[in-house]
């Protein structure tokens, strides 16, 4: 019998946002704060931390990460969400070896497509 954690209604609370044409998620426990960007605040874009090309001129919000105090500007909105455990998978080996996204840790696949789960503790300026 398959031991599927999703059958128990288990889920991972995450902050979800879009960047580089893909949805990303960060464990909610790793996020200390989410706020609007004030005009004077200098911080890296999340694409820079992830190692991706920067999205165009879109409004940005700020995410502050708990363990390292890094603050990153994310394009568009971020939302608190739950990913059912049954949809979360370890990265397939070839993907884990070749993906150039910094902090890529796991992958969730739901009806809307993939969500790349990243670990902000792996970001370069951490």
């Amino acid at each position: 019998m398959r031991n599927d954690p999703g059958d128990d209604g288990l889920s991972l609370q995450v902050v979800v946002f879009s960047a580089g044409g893909c949805r990303f998620a960060i464990e909610a426990g790793e996020v200390a704060a989410m706020r609007c960007r004030s005009g004077v605040e200098e911080c890296p874009d999340i694409e820079t931390l992830l190692g991706l090309p920067r999205d165009g001129n879109v409004s940005r919000r700020l995410l502050e990460f708990r363990n390292n105090g890094v603050v990153a500007a994310i394009p568009g909105d971020a939302a608190l969400s739950h990913l059912p455990a049954r949809t979360i998978h370890a990265l397939p080996p070839l993907l884990a070896a070749r993906i150039a996204v910094c902090g890529a840790a796991a992958l969730a696949l739901d009806a809307d497509g993939p969500v790349l789960i990243v670990d902000p503790r792996q970001f370069p300026c951490a």
Binding site: G20, G21, H89, P92, P93, L94, L95, L109, G113, L116
Partner: protein, 172 residues
């Protein structure tokens, strides 16, 4: 011949029949091959490395991947990568329509491999696999196991273990 130099009955009867054609050793190990095409060229994988030919399914793009990695697919609840054999072997991009994804297992890894078409699954005697010619492209030498003739065509047998291992190491 027997130890004393006498012929066996089978050998005597074969001589009487005038058998002079090539002797086929029915006990010779057979090798199952999955024959596929790519840009008009013919290739094969060892059948034991190909778990299934997948029906058409959506491939989900992921950023930060090499261009040869198309993305990921959902195979009955498991996530698998898809790599394009065209790109890996240096062929220009081709039509996706009609192409197939083979779910392959090699070098301890599993991944989808997109090919233009699957032509045949066949058994050939081990001896039918010949050493690759010296004229083979330098970049392909490490991943070519041999050459098989099928339907008058040369079929290049690829080493999926090496291909996956090289891909993981960023060499392919």
């Amino acid at each position: 011949m027997t130890e004393t130099g006498n012929l066996s009955l089978d050998q005597i009867l074969a001589l009487k029949r005038g058998d002079s054609g090539p002797v086929v050793n029915v006990d010779e190990p057979q090798v199952k091959l999955v024959v596929l095409t790519l840009g008009g060229d013919w290739f094969a994988f060892h059948g034991g490395k190909v778990r299934e030919v997948l029906p058409d399914c959506p491939v989900f793009y992921l950023p930060g991947c090499p261009s040869s990695m198309e993305g990921v697919i959902n195979v009955r609840g498991d996530i698998e990568t898809v790599i394009g054999l065209r790109s890996v072997l240096g062929y220009p991009p081709g039509e996706e329509a009609g192409s197939r994804i083979l779910l392959c297992q090699a070098a301890g890894m599993r991944s989808g491999v997109r090919v233009d078409a699957v032509e045949e699954v066949m058994d050939v005697p081990q001896s039918a696999i010949q050493a690759p010619p010296h004229t083979i492209a330098e970049n392909r030498k490490p991943i070519v196991l041999g050459i098989v003739t099928f339907g008058g065509r040369q079929v290049t047998l690829l080493d999926l273990d090496r291909l996956f291992a090289d891909y993981r190491a960023g060499l392919a």
